[in-house]
């Protein structure tokens, strides 16, 4: 490949060690709770062995200049940790990464100067300052040339559609406006690389759509963008390439189209039932040709559940599936066969759904 990579990540790994919370003396002999996935070490009884979590487990990828690259994964997959490593807030336990050609551990100041970061959540701004005052403050920190600062801020406020509210306190902003202001801040120094951690989390559908348009326009202006998300539809629509990450590992990396094409011969069945189908899922998984099964509450406002079954051939699976469901007492309310989506890619790779 002739293009220079703007972000280069090689075998990055991050282990967190946290001392287990000290037990109160009279609770010493209580049974310890099981450890979550990706967790080793124990905290039973009196010995206070530290608990280690492998948040990022040896990931590698390269992001070309001018590309929107998505890290797609469920909660706790290691997305935020990866962002924090790249923006020099957290050191990797091992492995290396370069941003705009600078090593994140050896040249952190240069990395910070070539990058804008948008953190998830809306608390990252000074709520007691106006939008403009926030930008003025950070412009000095990003060392924006003084003579150009005012015009840069004006143009960013305009671009992010915040002009009308520029002189209002951020505490009076909506979530979407705060997110746009955070993006404006990340762009102050016009950095080649922009990192966005869950940029549309907490936004209403319309604001989320607008924000995706904004991200695309940033790419068109030449910024290289790394964003994280746990919405497959968003990753599918927005990203040029996607790395699917789970338990700190990249389990697939390609363009959305290629990822889906890999499943083209598969069928995705969606069955709506009248109650939580916990009991039968394992039986469904053991049916021949079934590659993945997941269930979640249907988002139709009715108290129903959706079972999603990924199978190599729906014609051979369907009958057995219905038999199993009826045998377990579930009432089948609705059924669809779909084109595989990114969600199915995830189910096929991990056997579980991206949803919570």
């Amino acid at each position: 490949m002739s293009t220079v990579n703007s972000i280069e990540v090689e075998n990055l790994r991050r282990v967190f060690t946290r001392r287990a919370p000290r037990k109160l003396p009279w609770r010493r002999n209580g049974g310890g709770k099981g450890n979550g996935p990706g967790t080793t070490g124990s905290n039973n009884g009196g010995n206070n062995r530290p608990k280690t979590t492998v948040a990022v487990d040896g990931i590698s990828f390269g992001i070309q200049s001018g590309e929107i690259f998505g890290l797609l994964g469920p909660n706790g997959a290691g997305k935020t940790t990866t962002i924090k490593i790249l923006c020099t807030l957290v050191n990797p336990t091992s492995g290396t990464a370069r941003v705009a050609g600078y090593d994140i551990v050896r040249e952190p100041a240069k990395v910070r100067g070539s990058m804008g970061t948008v953190f998830s959540g809306e608390r990252s701004l000074y709520w007691k300052l106006t939008g403009r005052e926030n930008l003025e403050y950070f412009a000095a920190l990003y060392n924006v040339e003084p003579s150009k600062t005012a015009s840069r801020i004006d143009s960013l406020l305009c671009k992010m559609d915040l002009e009308a509210k520029a002189n209002e306190l951020v505490e009076r902003y909506s979530t979407g406006m705060r997110q746009r202001l955070a993006i404006a801040r990340a762009l102050l120094a016009n950095p080649p690389v922009v990192l966005l951690d869950e940029p549309t989390a907490g936004l209403d559908p319309q604001s989320a759509r607008n924000l995706r348009d904004t991200v695309r326009s940033l790419r068109d202006e030449g910024h290289t963008i790394l964003l994280t998300t746990h919405y497959m539809a968003e990753a599918d629509e927005l990203c040029d390439r996607i790395a699917i990450i789970d338990h700190g590992r990249i389990i697939a990396l390609d363009t959305p189209a290629t990822l889906k094409a890999g499943l083209q011969e598969m069928h995705s069945l969606e069955v709506e039932v009248d109650r939580a189908p916990d009991g039968v899922l394992d039986e469904l998984r053991s049916l021949p040709l079934v590659r993945g099964v997941e269930s979640y509450a249907s988002d139709n406002g009715l108290e129903t559940w959706t079972i999603r079954v990924l199978t190599e051939d729906s014609r051979q699976t369907l009958d057995a599936l219905l038999d199993l469901l009826r045998a377990s007492g579930d009432r089948v309310l609705n059924m669809k066969a779909n084109e595989p989506t990114l969600e199915d890619v995830f189910i096929a790779l991990t056997g579980k759904s991206l949803r919570d």
Partner: protein
């Protein structure tokens, strides 16, 4: 040379922008701003009456034996004045880290290419300026209401405060590093600020302290700052000749800045290694 002046300029800009930001936020809570400015009066007033109660014919005789002045209230007032500068290190610098963590704005500050020491300096300089305004106000009110007679040269007193303030800023840097690591530090800051002020002789001459505590007092540069300023303003007997006290202050300013900076960056690196930055 041009590079150096550009660097200096960008540092000053960061310091200025941070001070301005802190000031604007301070004014966004107007009731608190007013209260903070008049707060010292509240706890100084009882000390005035206490001084009165211990005096005979306006002279605290026992006190005079230790200090060379019989005016206990003026002594305490100058002590309070100086202590508010110590608070700059503890609250303006160290606590501001915790404040930012609670607000969630530490991370966006930390991912900018700006020098972290400059960011911390900006915060404390705003507090130091406010403190100066506050102290001058207290002195003025003291002169009007409580008969405080400042005989010496305020300008020289302010000159002595400069190296002490620099030493304190060095201390503040080190403390800021510690807060970065332990995160919940409000109570620790409150306690150590109080102990530091008291042992430096905020309300009494350190010569009344028992030997071990006095040794601690004499190891603190602030003790000499308090002592020298009182000597200039009130004509008290200094612990050491003035010249030596000033040498001690200037030396400790340099040493504490170097040590404080090293401590701060050591903790900053540690946080990145442990991955504890941000969150609380």
């Amino acid at each position: 040379m041009a590079k150096l002046s550009r660097w200096l300029y960008s540092q000053l800009r960061v310091i200025g922008a941070t001070a301005r930001k802190e000031f604007i936020i301070f004014t966004r809570y107007p009731a608190n701003a007013v209260l903070e400015l008049i707060e010292p009066l509240m706890w100084l007033t009882p000390l005035y009456f206490m001084g009165k109660a211990f005096s005979a014919g306006g002279h605290a005789v026992g006190f005079e034996g230790f200090t060379g002045t019989s005016d206990y209230f003026s002594f305490v007032m100058v002590g309070a004045f100086m202590s508010s500068y110590i608070a700059v290190a503890f609250w303006g610098m160290a606590y501001s880290i915790e404040g930012d963590m609670i607000l969630g704005v530490l991370e966006p500050n930390w991912v900018t290419p700006a020098n972290r020491v400059s960011m911390l300096l900006g915060r404390s300089i705003m507090f130091a300026l406010l403190t100066t305004v506050q102290s001058l106000g207290v002195l003025l009110i003291g002169a009007l209401l409580f008969n405080v007679k400042v005989s010496g040269d305020i300008f020289i007193a302010l000159l002595i405060i400069v190296p002490m303030l620099i030493a304190i800023l060095g201390l503040g840097l080190g403390l800021a590093g510690i807060v970065l690591a332990i995160r919940r530090a409000q109570t620790a800051i409150d306690m150590s600020n109080w102990v530091f002020s008291q042992i430096s002789g905020m309300q009494f001459p350190v010569t009344v302290l028992p030997k071990p505590l006095m040794a601690v007092a004499l190891a603190l540069p602030t003790t000499y700052g308090y002592d020298a300023v009182r000597s200039v303003l009130l004509g008290t007997n200094p612990l050491l000749p003035m010249k030596q006290e000033i040498i001690i202050l200037v030396t400790s300013a340099i040493v504490m800045c170097i040590v404080g900076r090293a401590v701060f960056y050591a903790f900053d690196r540690r946080c990145r290694r442990l991955g504890t930055l941000g969150g609380h």
